[in-house]
Subunit: 205 residues, 2 copies
DNA sequence: GTCTATACTGAGATAGAC
DNA sequence: GTCTATCTCAGTATAGAC
């Protein structure tokens, strides 16, 4: 991999994380990277593929860690009941672990989860993880109807996204790594209680 | 108010709701409105102020309804304990009530809540409501530390936003008014359980 | 193979004729 | 009030230097 390609990725990650994908211009990135505009399109092809390149560097590490923790918790549970808290821990802990060394990457992940018009490049990394954790929660919450669980997964994703990157909007507090760790420690029991709540009375109307 | 100004607002609301604020171009709106590009800037000043004009038409109605329901529930509770479910009902019911007649407006509200780079014009309508409901929840959950409640409000906002507009991304299901009503009926018990969860053990690190 | 210079299309915004 | 023309800046594409 060329030096120029490497020089692009870090500034891209930083600016995408700070301003969001849509609000970031490639010209802002090249200004920080010290490369020519066309170099981005030569090495990556487009703005969206540049985002894909940024994600690809670390998303596999994060998702593998999630899957590893989840498998460990499942093995520990054995034939017994898998606790909701353990499943949430497997999802959230890798975020906490990475926020110290790669804060920009974590913020970018949060922003992307919240953006409505997110590119295809992002979804392909999230969907398998979502499916895997939905399956685990199905085991942890056997009495919850599958459709209800699917919705609750959305509630969880929304809350996680807002937790990672929404603070600048709704509260004056900034997104420091330490602050984010604290928020996620608060998020886990909130989500566990929500997921474990009895399903609403079914109505057909 | 001129005819031209009126002709712009409905298409703007529709296209903003369908594509999101950032992804929408003024040229898409004028194509549906049948007006000149400069007319938008003459009547509204900018793209952001056009969004403000769209919100202004209905956001007061929604927020007044929220405040009215909340006041009614508080009066009903009297000196007794205000239930978390009642506070959530006051926040969510106006969404359900409006989604039948004004589905585009509701979708737009959801999208804006989720967008990280949201304009100032939006925040000024949300912040007072957020403060008012935070105060009500302080009464409903007197044992919860204020900082913990502030974070949980963020979790709630994230889940609500994702519920209104996130389905197209995370699940194949579309955002029909009926489907949204069902999701919000599922959302309320989830959020009530989360808000009512015991606060996490305090740690200083 | 890499990278630069340049141009193309479409975005929001604005000045000025009518 | 309205519309034409134009400005700046965005993402993108390509020809050609090295």
């Amino acid at each position: 991999m060329t030096d120029t390609k490497q020089k692009i990725l870090d500034p891209a990650e930083r600016v995408f994380a700070q301003q969001g994908y849509a609000a970031t211009s490639l010209r802002q990135i090249i200004a920080q990277a010290g490369v020519n505009l066309a170099a981005i399109h030569y090495h990556f092809g487009s703005k969206e593929e540049l985002l894909d390149g940024v994600l690809l560097r670390k998303v596999t590490q994060m998702n593998d860690r999630r899957l590893g923790l989840l498998a460990a918790h499942e093995a520990e549970a054995g034939a017994g009941r898998l606790e909701v808290e353990k499943v949430l821990d497997a999802f959230l802990t890798p975020i906490v672990e990475m926020v110290g060394e790669h804060p920009d990457f974590v913020r970018l992940m949060g922003r992307l989860m919240a953006e409505s018009e997110l590119p295809e490049a992002v979804l392909k990394y999230f969907q398998p993880i979502l499916d895997r954790f939905t399956a685990a929660l199905t085991r942890a919450l056997p009495d919850l109807p599958p459709a209800e669980l699917a919705w609750r997964m959305q509630f969880v994703m929304g809350a996680v996204a807002q937790t990672i990157c929404g603070s600048a909007v709704w509260t004056p507090e900034h997104t420091s790594p330490a602050g984010l760790r604290g928020r996620i420690r608060s998020l886990a029991p909130f989500l566990a209680a929500g997921l474990s709540a009895p399903p609403p009375a079914t109505r057909e109307d």
